[in-house]
C-alpha cells in the first residue's frame, strides 16, 4: 500500500492552521495592543473544524470513542459537564508590566469557562467565581473584560456577542442553582 497526498485539502488546512510551530505571543504582530494572527481567517476555518467534529461524533461508534477516551489525547470536558459554547479566541493577560496574549479555544460549559490550548486548560474560572462582565469603551469591539474573584481577564473572540449572551445565561443558571 502506498501513501497518497491527493485530495487531502482538509488535511492540509488542519495541519497549517492547528499544528506546527507558533511564536511566543510577545513576538507576534499586534495593532494598538490587539494581537492579530489572522483572527477572522482562523475563526472561519475553526467553525469548519467544529463541523467536522460533529461529523466525527456521528460516524464514530461508542467503542471507538471509549477507546480514544482511554488511549487518546486529553479531552477538554469533564464527566457530567455540558458544553454551552466553543469558539476560537484569545486571552489577553497583563502580569505586571508584561502583557501577553494566548490564542486557543474558549470553552463555556455549565460549570466553568476555560481556554483550551495544547491539550490543557491554560486559563480556567468556575462560573461561580465570575462577578462582572465589562465592555469598557477603551476595549476593542470584539473584546470584553471578565472580573472574577481571583482577578480579571480580557477575552477576545470574533463571535463576542453570541459568547456574551451564552455566558450571561450560564451565569444566571449557575446562580439560580446556588440559590
Amino acid at each position: 500500500m502506498r501513501p497518497e497526498r491527493e485530495s487531502c485539502l482538509v488535511e492540509v488546512l488542519d495541519r497549517l492552521l492547528n499544528r506546527g510551530v507558533v511564536l511566543n505571543a510577545d513576538l507576534i504582530i499586534s495593532v494598538a495592543g490587539v494581537p492579530l494572527i489572522g483572527l477572522n481567517l482562523r475563526a472561519a476555518l475553526a467553525s469548519m473544524e467544529t463541523m467536522l467534529n460533529y461529523g466525527m461524533m456521528e460516524s464514530w461508534d461508542k467503542s471507538a470513542r471509549d477507546w480514544h477516551a482511554l488511549h487518546g489525547n486529553a479531552r477538554p470536558l469533564e464527566d457530567g459537564e455540558t458544553l454551552v459554547f466553543k469558539a476560537f479566541g484569545y486571552l489577553w493577560q497583563e502580569q505586571g508590566i508584561v502583557s501577553c496574549c494566548l490564542p486557543g479555544t474558549w470553552y463555556l460549559t455549565d460549570k466553568r469557562l476555560f481556554l483550551w490550548r495544547s491539550e490543557k486548560a491554560v486559563f480556567e474560572v468556575p462560573l461561580q467565581s465570575i462577578c462582572l462582565l465589562n465592555d469598557a469603551p477603551s476595549l476593542e469591539r470584539s473584546e470584553m473584560e471578565l472580573v472574577h474573584s481571583g482577578g480579571s481577564a480580557r477575552i477576545r473572540l470574533p463571535q463576542l456577542e453570541a459568547f456574551r449572551d451564552k455566558l450571561e445565561e450560564a451565569l444566571k443558571s449557575a446562580r439560580a442553582l446556588k440559590a
Partner: protein, 257 residues
C-alpha cells in the same frame, strides 16, 4: 522591505538563499540563517493575512504548504510553522529569534531529521463486522434461528436483544483490533499520536465507521514496511485503510519558540 517577516519553516541550513517568488501571493521567499539553522520567510507588512473569502484563504494556505514542501526538498525535513505566524521586525529580528531559541530548534530538527509524518485511518464495515462476530458466537447464531419460529411480538423483542448483544460484541471486537493495530503500527514509527478529530473528508469511505486514526512520524526507510503492514490490515474482511503522506512533521513540533 516590509516591517515584518512571515514565517514558513525552520530548516537545517547555514546559508542565506533565495527560493524564488514561491511565497503567498508570489512573494519572494528566502532564508535567514543563524549558525546552522535558518528561518524560511518572506518580507511583509506588519498585519496578518485575513479574509472572509474561504477560497482565497485556501489558496494562501496551499501556497504556504508549497513553500514548506520546496524547503523540504532543498534542506531535508523542516520544522513547519503554522499559518499566519508573522514576526515583527526585520531580518535581524528573525536572526535574534533563532539565536534565542537555537538549542530547542536545533534539537527538534535533529529529532525529525530524515523522517516524515504520515496519517493512517482504519475503517470498518459494521454489517460485515457484525456477521463475522455472529459466526464466532454460536449462542447468538442459535438465537437468530429461533427468531423465525417465534410469533411476531416475541420475535421483535428477541431481535432487539440480539441487536444489542451484537452491538456490544462488535464494540469489544473493534476495541481489540484497535489495540492490536496500534501496537503493530507503533513498532514501525519513531512517534505515534492517536488522533481524535476528523481532519479529512473522503468519499471513498462513506458509510464506513472509523476504527482508529493516527499521525505517525516515520523514518524514510520504514515507510515501505508500514505500507505492507497496512496492506495486511486492508486485506482483512470488512476493514479499510486510508494512508496519506508524506507530510512535514506538523503534529510532532508543537513547540512554541
Amino acid at each position: 522591505m516590509g516591517a515584518a517577516r512571515y514565517l514558513y519553516s525552520v530548516a537545517s541550513t547555514g546559508m542565506a538563499e533565495k527560493l524564488g517568488n514561491i511565497g503567498i501571493e508570489e512573494k519572494p521567499v528566502y532564508t535567514v540563517p543563524y549558525r546552522d539553522i535558518a528561518a524560511v520567510i518572506h518580507s511583509c507588512e506588519p498585519r496578518p493575512y485575513e479574509t472572509d473569502d474561504e477560497r482565497l484563504a485556501e489558496e494562501w494556505i496551499l501556497e504556504h504548504a508549497y513553500v514548506i514542501d520546496q524547503a523540504t526538498i532543498r534542506f531535508g525535513t523542516v520544522l513547519p510553522v503554522s499559518f499566519d505566524v508573522i514576526l515583527r521586525g526585520d531580518d535581524l529580528a528573525v536572526k535574534d529569534w533563532l539565536s534565542r531559541n537555537y538549542i530547542r530548534l536545533r534539537q527538534e530538527l535533529e529529532r525529525v531529521k530524515g523522517k516524515s509524518e504520515y496519517s493512517v485511518q482504519i475503517f470498518y464495515d459494521y454489517d460485515k463486522m457484525a456477521s463475522r462476530v455472529l459466526r464466532d458466537n454460536p449462542d447468538l447464531e442459535g438465537l437468530k434461528s429461533r427468531l423465525e419460529k417465534e410469533p411476531k411480538g416475541k420475535a421483535y423483542l428477541l431481535q432487539r436483544s440480539l441487536d444489542m448483544k451484537l452491538q456490544d460484541l462488535v464494540s469489544s471486537e473493534t476495541s481489540r483490533l484497535a489495540d492490536r493495530f496500534c501496537s503493530e503500527i507503533r513498532q514501525l514509527t519513531e512517534d505515534l499520536k492517536v488522533e481524535d478529530r476528523r481532519t479529512w473528508r473522503d468519499e471513498r469511505f462513506r458509510g464506513k465507521k472509523l476504527l482508529a486514526s493516527y499521525s505517525c512520524l516515520i523514518s524514510r526507510d520504514n515507510v515501505e514496511r508500514l505500507g505492507e503492514a497496512l496492506e495486511d490490515i486492508d486485506r482483512l474482511q470488512g476493514l479499510f485503510v486510508r494512508f496519506t503522506g508524506p507530510w512535514s512533521p506538523f503534529s510532532f513540533v508543537s513547540l512554541e519558540a
